[in-house]
Amino acid sequence: MNRALLIWRKSLNVVMLTLTGVAALSVVSVLFLILGYLIWHGGASLSWNFFTQLPKPVGETGGGMANAIVGSLKLLLLAAVIGLPVGLMAGVYLAEFGGQTFSFVIRYTTDLLNGVPSIVIGIFAYSLVVLPVKHFSTLAGGFALGIMVIPITVRSTEEFLRAIPGTLREGAMALGASKWKTIATVVLPAASGGILTGMLLALARVAGETAPLLFTAFSNRFWSPGWSQPIASLPVMIYTYAIAPYDDWHRQAWAAGLVLLGLVLLANLGCRLALNRGGNVRSV
């Protein structure tokens, strides 16, 4: 009886532990499945034209997504200009100046803002930027993405600033530097690697966002000069091409998906490797 129980417990142990391993393996394999599938399908449809040509009119095959690639870059530039300064400064406040209660409120709000569904951010940008001028624009899309950049930047900036040892600050202050001088010339430079990586990660995350662009930047089958016209972007193009009934569009969606995923994963890979290896090497 006792022996049977022991065998039962031991086999349960082996079975359950194996299952956890299988679970981890299957989750990781999903990443490689996604990558493999996109390379297989997207690689075949990727061509020079994809990067240099405008979309062809409906029904004609060929063409590319040059305007969407430029569009995504323009939107990201706007997002960076709008979101990064706010994120950086607020992060500095939380790490260097903040008191107890107010900092807690800011931190909590930041987390909540981070959790707001991107489609709701889209509605926000729509009612704030699109409604008053009554047309979709690059500006509105960039604004929506910029809002999403803020919370991510705040938290990463704060984290990297906190990782700088207090002795560094004390050293600078002992030399007579004022607090802001300490921050600007000692603490921020020491944390700059981490902070910049965090910013790049934030941009990589919003680069793939589709939902907030649907009714802010909208889309465009042509070039979009300036900042006040609707503009195409890679994620929105993937969406519209994927749900369209044309085979050629599907092929282009795969190609665009490969380009987008490649860029996002490369940025992530680079940043995370740099962070894992370096950490706070520069601060010491």
């Binding site: 391993g21 989750v27 990781v28 400064m89 709000t109 959790g115 707001v116 009612s127 909208f218 995923l261």
Partner: protein, 332 residues
């Protein structure tokens, strides 16, 4: 060098009143403080403006439908009659399906990473899982349309109908016809999308469980699995709940991938294999086509509902995770 000296001279004498404030301003610290504070306050402002805009712009719909909005099942843009029930239903059902799949998978993986795998392998796998979390949702949608939906249509759907569909009560959930698109397909795609979040947060939480807890259980003769399932996991359960809430909040608000595979049909049906609609999906699909102020207002009210749902869940999740990481977890 000179500036350093003057700084010290300024700092020393005890000024008070407005003069001191001016001195400190000249000193620069207060200015820096104020500037960064302004940016931090901007986050508060943005978030409250977000709520305000949702509230104000959904006014028409709130005034006309009131609470009935939540249980009306019609969505009729032509006669300006809007109800949120099918969308709320779809959002909840797809998220629950996602959790039913993702929680066991994620928790098991987290256990493997924190309890079994050597640190190096654990770190490497977590790294890959972080990358998985970075995949844009539209890519999941793309794979959803061209991989998961055909799989569901030709293989998994018929399989489910023939097996689980035959079980007395459960069978209702897996009744045909099977279109390939629907709640279940959306749930699968969502599950894949939220699993990385469950894993990375649960792993962090499990790693905070003190080693003595495991050792004590093992010393009492427990097997590895028993120490994990009866000691470690119960200790970390609050944090694990937090990770599940986070995942749920993400699943509720996920837009693109769901829009592409759910079938976009505002109906409430018991079968998970039938097409449905979610809040995020209907906003994504109909927002630009919304003619008429009431139509737009109803869509924005849906956005408000979605915002509140995720707002509450996120808040709860943060509290739970912080509680466990501060050592609030107790063995059962």
């Amino acid at each position: 060098m000179t500036s350093t000296v003057t700084t010290i001279q300024h700092a020393a004498p005890p000024y008070s009143g407005p003069r001191a404030f001016v001195r400190r301003l000249r000193h620069g610290d207060e200015i820096a403080h104020l500037i960064t504070l302004t940016f931090a306050a901007a986050i508060l402002l943005i978030t409250s403006m977000l709520v305000w805009e949702l509230w104000v712009n959904s006014h028409l719909s709130r005034a006309k439908f009131g609470w009935n909005f939540f249980w009306t099942q019609t969505w009729d843009p032509i006669f300006d009659n809007f109800g949120a029930a099918p969308f709320i239903y779809g959002t909840l059902v797809t998220s629950i399906v996602a959790l039913v799949i993702a929680v066991p998978l994620g928790l098991a993986s987290a256990i493997f990473l924190s309890e079994l795998a050597p640190r190096k392998i654990s770190d490497a796998v977590s790294f890959l899982i972080d990358l998985l979390a970075a995949v844009p949702s539209v890519i999941y949608g793309l794979l959803g349309i061209f991989v998961v939906v055909p799989l569901m249509r030709s293989w998994l759907g018929p399989f489910l109908i023939n097996t689980l569909g035959k079980v007395p009560v459960l069978g209702k959930l897996f009744a045909g016809p099977n279109y390939g698109v629907g709640f279940f397909t959306a749930g699968i795609v969502l599950a894949i999308m939220v699993v990385p979040f469950i894993i990375s947060v649960s792993r962090e939480v499990l790693l905070t469980v003190p080693r003595e807890q495991r050792e004590a259980a093992l010393a009492l003769g427990a097997t590895r699995w028993e120490s994990t399932s009866k000691v470690v996991v119960p200790w970390a359960r609050t944090g694990i709940m937090g990770s599940i809430f986070l995942a749920l909040a993400r699943a509720l608000g996920e837009t693109m991938a769901v829009t592409m595979v759910i079938g976009n049909d505002p109906k409430i049906s018991a079968s998970l294999l039938h097409p449905g609609y979610t809040i995020a999906a209907v906003i994504a699909n109909e927002f630009t086509e919304a003619t008429g102020d009431l139509y737009l207002s109803a869509l924005i009210e849906l956005g408000l509902v979605l915002f509140l749902m995720t707002f509450i869940l996120n808040g709860l999740a943060r509290i739970l995770i912080v509680a466990t990481e501060r050592g609030g977890g107790r063995p059962a």
